[in-house]
């Protein structure tokens, strides 16, 4: 029933919104140079052989983050082609 679904989802939606407001917002213009600096630092540490000090736990965590970023690409593709599954040509 619809009212029951609404009653169930309202507080959960509120919780989601509370987290999303902080964690899913796009970067502010001020954060973009910080992001570029982090990227440069990452490249430098990769070149300096810090890779040998990387723990398996850190590597797995980084892999997980990279996978999540990759998934955003596919979400973008869904939006760009205008359909959930396949191209409706």
């Amino acid at each position: 029933s619809f009212p029951a679904a609404v009653t169930y989802s309202k507080p959960r939606l509120a919780t989601f919104w509370q987290y999303a407001k902080v964690e899913l917002v796009p970067p502010t213009p001020a954060e973009i140079p910080k992001a570029i600096d982090s990227m440069k630092a990452m490249v430098k540490s990769f070149q300096s052989g810090h890779l040998a000090q990387l723990t398996v736990k850190e590597a797995l965590r980084n892999g997980l983050v990279a996978t999540e970023v990759l998934m955003w690409f596919y979400i973008g593709e869904i939006i760009g082609r205008g359909s959930l599954i396949g191209y409706n040509v």
């Binding site: 954060e31 992001a35 970023v69 990759l70 690409f73 973008g76 593709e77 191209y87």
Partner: protein
């Protein structure tokens, strides 16, 4: 409730750039595939019409040349 985590600017930037690139890729690939599919459908329709025409002719010939005392 666990306090929300402060996401690093690099990750935010990477996520939304990936989203943007994905949208552009989806749009351009769709625009590329659309005329190709339309062309394919047009060709299919033409060939189907030709085939049906040939089948019709073959059927009429078959009916005409059929010898049967039942007709």
């Amino acid at each position: 409730m666990v306090p929300p985590v402060q996401v690093s600017p690099l990750i935010k930037f990477a996520r939304y750039s990936a989203l943007l690139v994905g949208m552009l890729y989806g749009k351009t690939r769709y625009d590329y595939l659309k005329p190709i599919a339309a062309e394919e459908r047009k060709r299919e329709n033409e060939e189907k019409k030709k085939r049906e025409e040939l089948e019709r002719i073959a059927k009429e010939l078959a009916e005409a040349s059929e010898d049967s005392i039942l007709k």
